[in-house]
């Protein structure tokens, strides 16, 4: 797009402005095509047969809900490349996502898939204000992980210059940022904060560098983290979302309005479902995102269950894009607890703790069912800044946490204050839930 109005609105592709009706028609046609393309993949041949789906009988979006789901387990069972929908010779690159079980799941791309992927990344980069004269520092890992290469080629597509710093060695990242004077930072939000922290220790104030904005993704993060990044790095921070099974980064990203991430709906069909019933949830309610990659060639997945929980918003966006927006990812459906029939996520407990204490201390949710009723205990570590010698204040702190958890989740949980360092931590990721009901089941 070269009109000045579109430039101001930072819109790269006219497809982002398609009237809804046209977009739906395009999606329907592309759904029909992708079902035809995967019909010979062994998994889909069997799954379609099991679900009674005749590929050539799929006419459009009305048939979507009859199609079978694809799960992470299905991909693992199809190790390494059984989901390939094109001859091996047409594969141009292979990426993978690290599984917790050891073996990665591989995703393949044709030459055209790679072009598409770069274009989709370029769309959200342009939406955030990237221009050809910018210098962009990429501190994502370059490897099987899709973050580094995905953003790298997207930035080149915009026409900007890349510093492929890759991950690790933070003092060196700081040197590069300072000496090369990058305009834009691309990495995970937690790494951005880590860079700022190391910078402070080394006497480099990120706020004094030319850095103007950043695109962050690859992990769930919060508005509080955004505020911290913007404050500590002196930049504007944009959120983007993607996962290798769908394509990698570029599935969705924020526009200048920052009211959720626009899903690139001309290429990805999104559903938001209750993870238990698999029925659609009302708009605005959190559910599991399910994507169908409409245009990919090498390994398009149909109704892939991401396990990521977010809500959708189709109200008009001031930026003019017509695409539906997703909220930030609030949790994983694997983490979802059903307490006395109500869906509860650890992130909600974290939100309640944030409201009480500003930053969330270490916590653990323990669920048990001593008789017939679920019992939930939230153990919260007491930090020096929260600790008072006056019993009145400590009991008050516990009661405030208790009230906020009830306000956020709608459920009463028993709050226990525990000594610091007593809740177990594993490598990097903190364990947030212990569900004893499962041990008994």
């Amino acid at each position: 797009m070269s009109t000045s109005a579109s430039t101001q609105r930072r819109i790269r592709d006219a497809a982002e402005l398609l009237p809804r009706q046209e977009l739906r028609a395009l999606q329907g046609q592309r759904l029909r095509e992708v079902v035809a393309r995967v019909a010979h993949v062994p998994f889909y041949r069997e799954a379609f047969a099991r679900s009674g789906v005749k590929p050539d009988a799929v006419r459009g979006l009305d048939d979507l809900r009859r199609l079978p789901f694809t799960t992470k387990k299905d991909l693992r069972d199809g190790y390494p490349l059984q989901f390939l929908a094109v001859p091996r010779a047409e594969v141009a690159r292979i990426h993978g996502s690290s599984g917790t079980t050891g073996k990665p799941t591989f995703m393949a791309y044709t030459r055209r898939d790679l072009e598409l992927w770069s274009d989709l990344c370029a769309r959200f980069l342009v939406a955030g204000g990237m221009e050809p004269h910018h210098l962009v520092h990429v501190a994502f890992g370059y490897g099987l992980f899709t973050g580094g290469f995905g953003l790298h080629y997207g930035i080149e597509k915009v026409g900007a210059a890349v510093v492929p710093a890759a991950g690790g060695n933070t003092p060196r990242q700081l040197m590069l940022l300072r000496d090369l004077a990058a305009d834009v930072l691309v990495c995970t939000p937690s790494y951005a904060l880590h860079i700022a922290e190391v910078g402070r220790a080394e006497g480099i104030d990120l706020r004094e560098l030319p850095l103007a904005f950043g695109h962050f993704g690859g992990e769930p993060w919060t508005e509080e983290m955004r505020a911290a990044i913007e404050d500590q790095l002196g930049i504007q921070a944009f959120n983007n979302y993607g996962l290798s099974e769908v394509i990698g980064p570029g599935v969705s990203g924020e526009c200048p309005a920052r009211r959720g991430m626009h899903i690139q709906e001309d290429h990805f069909l999104v559903e938001c479902l209750d993870p238990e019933t698999l029925e659609p949830v009302p708009e605005g309610k959190a559910g599991e995102l399910v994507f169908t990659a409409l245009t990919k060639e090498a390994m398009p997945l149909v109704r892939y269950r991401t396990r990521d929980l977010a809500s959708l918003d189709s109200t008009p966006c001031p930026c003019g894009r017509t695409t539906i927006r997703m909220s930030r990812v609030i949790g994983r459906s694997d983490d979802m607890l059903i307490i006395r029939g109500v869906n509860v996520f650890p992130s909600q407990v974290e939100e309640a703790l944030l409201r009480v204490e500003g930053t969330a201390p270490h916590y653990l949710i323990e669920v048990d069912r001593p008789g017939t009723l679920d019992n939930v205990v939230v153990k919260v570590e007491v930090r020096p800044q929260d600790f008072s010698d006056a019993m009145r204040e400590m009991v008050g702190l516990r009661d405030r946490i208790d009230r906020e958890i009830h306000a956020v989740t709608g459920i009463r949980m028993a709050v226990e204050l525990v000594a610091p360092g007593t809740l177990q931590r594993s490598e990097g990721k903190a364990k947030r839930v212990l569900d004893h009901r499962k041990e008994k089941a």
């Binding site: 930090r383 020096p384 600790f387 010698d389 019993m391 400590m394 525990v418 000594a419 610091p420």
Partner: protein
């Protein structure tokens, strides 16, 4: 006049109280007096020690959350109405008390002393200067040096 008191957060389960005491013992730090406030689920262990800065370091190194508060040690006449007289003086000065605990000091426990945690320790110090019946114990008297 003010004395530094250390407070520790303790979970209400066996072995919680002995661990910090053992850490102080190892470091050769003498506990002058202490009190324990408890709920069904957790407790707050308050300590007056000889070298509070070193004690704080030792306790934090042992994994405790330590809070430092300023308290006043006040001598209470050992006779009927002794404590009541002191408390009446606090009342006249409109001083709010968070909590208190008592101990004895001197040879063979000759003196009764109460540790008071006031809502506002500085206001208490100022107010009690004008109360001849209340004797605030200097920290050297009970901590030595």
């Amino acid at each position: 006049m003010k004395i530094h008191q250390l407070s520790l957060f303790l979970e209400n389960r066996p072995g919680q109280l002995v661990a910090p005491c053992r850490a102080l013992a190892k470091a050769g730090i003498d506990i002058v007096t202490s009190s324990l406030a408890d709920t069904a689920q957790f407790g707050i262990f308050r300590l007056v020690v000889k070298d509070w800065q070193k004690a704080k370091q030792v306790l934090e190194a042992a994994g405790s959350v330590v809070n430092v508060t300023e308290v006043l040690a006040i001598e209470v006449p050992d006779r009927p109405g002794g404590l009541a007289g002191v408390l009446e003086a606090f009342d006249r000065a409109a001083l709010g008390i968070e909590y208190m605990y008592a101990f004895t000091s001197g040879q063979r426990g000759a003196r009764a002393i109460c540790i008071f945690r006031f809502e506002d320790p500085d206001k208490a110090v100022a107010a009690l200067r004008g109360s001849p019946e209340v004797r605030v114990v200097e920290s050297e008297e009970i901590l030595g040096k």
